[in-house]
């Protein structure tokens, strides 16, 4: 039987650890993005982050948590963005990373798709139906579809942000569209 030590197993010394933590806290304090920039980016992309997370989790609470976490990461980010596009892509990557990191968390609550759809106040019943159909797709298809349709990203941009080949992205989009053909009956002109 292993008897546990009264000391820290990592540092071996409690005061040492405290000092390390203080340094980390200080670094956290000084590393925060310009607040005006934060406000502008937050207003522009908060809904995008939320929609990506909702597409991923199919759960409003998890999507809210993800949005808050990602906004916090943005708030604490030290380095400036090169462009608005850079900021958007960074936020997409951070959001997906966060979603993946807690996807298999056993504490996560699961709700039915019907409950999720009912919780969103769509203006028309057919909108609810389309949303539900989209949400029935596999996660990887939903995310690619959202970036392509809603964020107007090209296949190349999506491939870059998802670290996939362009072929893989095209394949996901095609499969998603095929699955949605009953809900979206018009002829597409978007090239997939």
């Amino acid at each position: 039987m292993i008897k546990h030590s009264n000391n820290f197993s990592q540092s071996g010394d409690k005061s040492f650890l405290k000092n390390v933590l203080k340094v980390k806290a200080f670094r956290t304090e000084v590393r925060s993005v310009d607040k005006t920039v934060f406000r502008a980016l937050s207003e522009t992309y908060q809904s995008m982050v939320y929609r990506i997370a909702l597409n991923f989790f199919r759960n409003i609470q998890d999507a809210e948590d993800a949005t808050q976490e990602v906004m916090l990461k943005l708030y604490l980010r030290a380095e400036p963005f090169d462009s608005q596009n850079h900021a958007r892509n960074w936020l997409i990557r951070v959001t997906l990373n966060y979603c993946r990191s807690i996807w298999r968390n056993p504490w996560r609550q699961h709700i039915s798709l019907e409950e999720l759809t009912a919780a969103i106040p769509f203006s028309k019943p057919e909108d609810s139906a389309l949303f539900q159909t989209v949400m029935e797709l596999p996660e990887k298809h939903r995310t690619a579809l959202y970036l392509f349709y809603y964020e107007d990203m090209s296949v190349r941009e999506i491939a870059e942000v998802l670290k996939l080949s362009e072929t893989a992205v095209t394949s996901r989009l095609s499969r998603a569209r095929k699955a949605l053909k009953d809900e979206l009956t018009e002829v597409p002109s978007d090239g997939i």
Partner: protein, 321 residues
């Protein structure tokens, strides 16, 4: 209307319930905006106020004695500016997985509960490697049986589970109660400590989410899991990398020996009681920013642990229903 326009029309109606402003984000980790309903903690309270037990953990183990076989998370997308290698994914195949450390929440490694949990985790790791089960949708396997409380999706998995519980002399859970809001019981865990959503199994195994107001840190979220011995509980916790944790033993204010562990992002309080195993997953770590001069530290975690009276915790087996 084109596909794209129709899609946009629908998804443009989706927005977060609220905006996260700067002040709130600064206070983040001290209070996340929880929209979960208040849950009454009548049943939990029954546990907390029932029979006193002498705290027992004379030979406390370490965090590594809780490790389960590594699980696998989907590979994360690496930010380019971090200049870390990106795992190449060239086809439609799932991204390669990265191992994460999972700990048992049912007991240390020498217990039947933990052995069964480890064996079950190992089985799950190798059973569905191509994620075929993800395509089963909302279909529930054998909804009227105990299997509904576990990650069992077909008869083969059910047989494996039966084999495990027989081997280790455990029982499967038979029913689960979702704890419902009832504010009048909140006083039982103090005004600084609030319980939210939770559930309880028939043997007294329970879990609830809570928020504790801790001096200097504000409101801290936590998850409280108590697993009663003798049952098989299919639950584990992803702690990412066990190497990130500093751990030490500590005796709480009520005299209960506990194992405390602090990482940059979360903290753990682990209490090994005679008839149950308790894990408190504190959603704050050494790199959590607070308004106070320093981040969440070892003293804070000890104060957090002191806020619970583990000595009165026992299972519902001792309570007359």
């Amino acid at each position: 209307m084109e596909y794209k326009e129709r899609y946009k029309e629908v998804f443009s109606q989706i927005h977060p319930m609220k905006n996260f402003d700067q002040e709130e984000l600064y206070m983040k980790k001290s209070y996340k905006n929880i929209t979960k309903k208040w849950v009454g903690i009548a049943v939990v309270a029954a546990l907390l106020v029932s029979f006193c037990l002498t705290a027992y953990a004379a030979n406390l183990f370490g965090l590594r004695d809780l490790l389960l076989p590594q699980s696998y998370e989907a590979a994360q997308i690496v930010e380019p500016e971090k200049e870390q290698p990106v795992t190449p994914v060239e086809s439609e195949k799932e991204q390669p997985s990265q191992p994460v450390d999972m700990i048992s929440l049912v007991g240390f490694s020498n217990t039947p509960e933990a052995k069964a949990a480890a064996e079950w985790q190992a089985f799950l790791n190798t059973y569905d490697v191509d994620a075929a089960l993800e395509n089963i949708g909302n279909n529930v396997f054998a909804p009227e049986t105990s299997y509904i409380h576990y990650r069992v999706y077909n008869q083969e998995m059910a047989d494996k589970l039966d084999q495990l519980v027989t081997k280790y002399g455990l029982k499967l859970h038979t029913s689960m109660l979702t704890l419902t809001p009832d504010e009048q019981h909140t006083e039982l865990i103090g005004s600084e400590n609030r319980a939210f959503s939770g559930y309880m199994y028939e043997d007294g195994t329970f879990k609830f989410d809570g928020i504790l107001e801790l001096a200097g840190c504000g409101n801290l979220e936590y998850q409280f899991q108590c697993c009663v011995r003798g049952s098989f509980t299919d639950i584990a916790l992803n702690i990412n990398d066990i190497g990130d944790y500093a751990e030490w033993s500590y005796t709480t204010k009520d005299g209960t020996p506990a194992l405390l562990a602090l990482s940059p992002y979360k903290s753990l309080i682990i209490v090994d009681l005679p008839d149950s195993f308790v894990t408190v997953n504190v959603l704050a770590g050494a790199e959590t920013p607070f308004e106070k001069a320093h981040s969440f530290d070892a003293d804070d975690l000890e104060h957090f642990a002191d806020s619970f009276d583990f000595s009165v915790l026992t299972s519902t087996k001792s309570v007359n229903h």
